[in-house]
């Protein structure tokens, strides 16, 4: 009646006679003995006690023999999408950005979303309420550089908040910014008036590396300004009480990967370990361009990521080692979420706006200015879950699917596997996880000594 799940990662022995088992269907870990490992490999269920069997069954390391697991996972993912009660939209209030990052695929212009298009965007959002009983409305302010559209954010937010209130929904927003304009007064207004609960700022290493990549369009340095802004905010006496997380993303390719550790040291010197909500390193990806060609090989990136994580732990950060379940991989797989750009264009993917190579492609669903009823109901990426179930992508057989969700659907269509680093370094992360927990403090010291 039962079999060993396909969706398991089991490490090599982490300590005498012990391994870590990670059941990706539930994102839960278990330390198992070699003896139990052997029984699992042999499917010797009768040799396993009821108590242990129950535990393994509960975390779905053992599953019904007849179950087609990939179909179960996809069905649960689709059910989670259907059960969602948060109405999510991305608004890109301007096509402008101060920066001229070499790897950016967007074409920046001094255009801002106008009153007429804003009205139509609101009308479009309001029209969604008839489909479902939503409980929450969330807006993501996204680039180009959203704070260049500060006037538009200030004008649109109260109207969307009112809309949410009228429908009995709560409201929150998030912001992805280069941090250049993120001064304390703006931060406070974002948090206290505009419902912003999380902000992501990009730092591509320390000044030397960051400024070589994330300079202004005129070639001026930006690191110092951004870092000063961040320090001023993180050091506000009531920063934690304000309830807005600020995370830092560090984009890397082979040109700046050595700057990650110096950046971590700089952050630690300023005692930001418990103030930064989340620090993560992301490999440069293709953005309608060839930027990814300079990106580190996935395997090499995976190995480096472990080094960075160990350094983070050593410095007192608490990196997220193990992934959680990821049933909703991105907005493209939710039928109600949309992106609006400064020209009133509507998309189902954040990677498409302002990128010339996507002009006149099916990724542009329409333009609110042409009438809301002209916006296409065909969303090219919406079938992603079914495509995975049908075996169109390698995700169908990947044991990481439940915690990865499949990665960027658009990248798969473009022939660029978007597999996350976890796929390449999950065993190492499990060993670190084990070492950091009660059972493995001594092993952790040993790992640290090896990498010192």
């Amino acid at each position: 009646m039962f079999k060993l799940s396909h969706y398991l990662v089991i490490t090599e022995p982490v300590a005498a006679g012990k391994r870590v088992l990670f059941a990706t269907r539930t994102a839960r870990t278990l330390v198992i003995t070699d003896t139990l490992y052997d029984k699992l490999q042999r499917g010797a269920w009768d040799e396993i006690s009821d108590r242990v069997f129950d535990k393994l069954r509960t975390i779905e390391a053992i599953v019904p023999a007849a179950e087609r697991e990939v179909h179960t996972i996809i069905a649960r993912n689709k059910a989670t999408v259907a059960d969602g009660t948060s109405l999510y939209h991305v608004i890109q209030p301007t096509a402008m950005c101060q920066l001229g990052c070499g790897y950016c695929g967007q074409k920046h212009t001094k255009d801002y979303i106008g009153t007429a298009h804003s009205d139509l965007v609101l009308e479009r959002i309001a029209s969604k309420f008839s489909a479902k009983p939503y409980r929450h409305v969330e807006i993501a302010w996204f680039g180009s550089e959203p704070l260049m559209g500060w006037v538009q954010i200030r004008s649109l937010t109260p109207r969307i908040q009112a809309l949410a209130r009228e429908r009995g929904c709560t409201y929150s927003a998030k912001l992805v910014t280069n941090g250049l304009s993120l001064k304390v007064p703006i931060f406070l207004e974002l948090v206290q008036q505009h419902g912003v609960k999380s902000i992501e700022v990009t730092l591509d290493g320390t000044a030397e590396h960051h400024d070589a990549r994330r300079h202004t369009k005129d070639g001026l340095s930006t690191f110092k300004l951004i870092f000063q802004n961040l320090l001023a905010i993180y050091n506000l006496p009531n920063f934690k009480e304000l309830g807005c997380d600020i995370s830092i993303r560090c984009n890397v390719d082979e040109r700046n990967s050595e700057s990650v550790i110096p950046l971590l040291h700089l952050l630690a010197e300023h005692e930001l370990q418990d103030k930064i909500a989340y620090f993560y390193v992301a490999p440069i990806h293709a953005w309608g361009n060839e930027a990814h060609l300079l990106s580190l090989e996935k395997q090499a990136f995976g190995e480096q990521e472990i080094t960075w994580m160990i350094e983070m732990i050593r410095l007192g950060f608490t990196p997220r080692l193990l992934p959680s379940l990821n049933p909703v991989v991105c907005m493209s797989v939710t039928p109600d979420a949309e992106v609006f750009d400064a020209f009133g264009n509507v998309f189902d993917c954040t990677e498409v706006p302002y990128v010339e190579s996507y002009d006149n492609t099916e990724y542009i669903l329409g333009n609110v200015g042409n009438g809301l009823d002209t916006i296409s109901t065909h969303r090219p990426l919406l079938s992603f879950h079914d495509d995975v179930a049908d075996g169109k992508y390698p995700c169908t057989t990947c044991r990481m699917l439940p915690v990865c969700g499949g990665g960027c659907p658009k990248s798969w269509r473009e022939g660029m596997p978007p597999c996350p680093s976890n796929k390449f370094n999950i065993e190492s992360k499990l060993m670190l996880h084990y070492a950091l927990h009660r059972q493995g403090k001594e092993e952790f010291v040993a790992i640290l000594n090896q990498t010192a």
């Binding site: 009821d50 129950d54 509960t58 179950e67 989670t80 059960d83």
Partner: protein, 346 residues
């Protein structure tokens, strides 16, 4: 009621404001949440199903997962879990009463999903089917399922209450309580036997009495105008039984006081109700609220529902450990008595 009695009542109520609910000398027993029901069923099933125990346990866990998702409002995910369970169940052979054992968990869980989806008739049919299904297993020694059946009566009542079929709901609660207290067999399904109930500790019955009564008392608070009729359906004539536990004694006192206050109440009954408020621990706060509303009606009858009493009672309601909905509803009711003095005449 004369002015002296009124003043005594008012003063005693006011005293309550300054004291915390009495600490119970004993923790509130709760065998329902201590899993005695599930543990007993598990033990019985484990011994009777042999190698099929693990698959059965897996199936029950699937329905439990679906039920948890449905309770969290994730109805599609709940449906998905039930579908996974349904596929797994197909392999069950017709032996060891496995199909019936599977339904013990399946029918109420799926009924709850249908209830949440608004398919009330379907949900109620599944709950009735659950009563019949349990009857088959009771004959096979699964005595604990008699309590499961009482839970299904409660679920049926919840469905009725939700649909505003108040009398139907109250009647179902009355059937369950009278069965537990007097052994009166409910005219639904078959095979009821108090002998099954007796095989479990009385405390489980006592906890179930407490649970059904507390929840129903809370529901009736929102139906002030019909409360007496509904109370009579659910709780009428429940004063002739022998308490077996300290909780039973409190419940019996509550049943008695509610009946006394529904008639032409004596001063002594009102004072006894105030003593109930004073003496019982916080686990009985919803019962206290229900009694308080009855006391209010008595005070109204004698035109003693004064602004001073209103102030005391409003504050008192604010101190009780009750649901926000119950608190708000009662406070609105009390406010309406002051804002609309003509109500005092009714």
């Amino acid at each position: 009621m004369n002015a002296t009695v009124y003043t005594t009542i008012k003063n005693r109520l006011e005293l309550l404001l300054n004291q915390r609910a009495p600490e119970s000398t004993r923790p509130k027993a709760d065998l329902i949440h201590q899993n005695i029901y599930a543990d007993t069923l598990t033990e019985l099933a484990r011994t009777q199903t042999g190698t099929w125990w693990r698959p059965l346990n897996h199936l029950w866990a699937k329905y439990e997962s679906g039920l948890l998702e449905a309770r969290a409002g994730h109805l599609h995910l709940a449906e998905q879990y039930f579908q996974e369970a349904g596929e797994f169940k197909r392999n069950f052979p017709e032996q060891h009463y496995l199909p019936e054992l599977a339904e013990v968990s399946a029918l109420p869980a799926v009924a709850y999903l249908h209830y949440k989806q608004g398919y009330f008739a379907q949900a109620e049919n599944e709950l009735l089917a659950s009563l019949d299904n349990d009857a088959v297993l009771l004959e096979q020694g699964y005595f604990i399922l008699e309590y499961h059946r009482i839970q299904q009566l409660h679920n049926l009542a919840r469905s009725c209450f939700f649909q505003k079929r108040m009398q139907d709901g109250a009647r179902l609660i009355g059937l369950a309580l009278r069965y537990m207290l007097y052994g009166q067999v409910p005219p639904l399904s078959y095979g009821w036997s108090e002998g099954y109930l007796q095989q479990a500790p009385w405390q489980l019955r006592s906890d179930m009495l407490w649970q059904l009564s507390a929840e129903t008392a809370g529901v009736l608070l929102h139906y002030r105008a019909e409360e007496k009729v509904l109370f009579s359906e659910a709780f009428g004539h429940l004063t002739f039984w022998e308490p077996h536990t300290p909780d039973d004694e409190v419940l019996l006192e509550w049943f008695t006081l509610k009946e006394l206050l529904a008639q032409v109440p004596s001063d002594e009954a009102v004072l006894r109700a105030v003593r109930f408020l004073d003496q019982q621990p916080a686990a009985f706060d919803v019962y206290k609220l229900s009694l308080l509303m009855s006391v209010v009606e008595v005070l109204q009858q004698y035109r003693y529902y004064t602004p001073e009493v209103h102030r005391i009672l409003t504050t008192l309601v604010g101190t009780l450990q009750i649901s926000p909905r119950n608190r708000q509803s009662c406070q609105l009711y009390l406010d309406s008595l002051i804002e609309n003095p003509e109500l005092l005449e009714t």
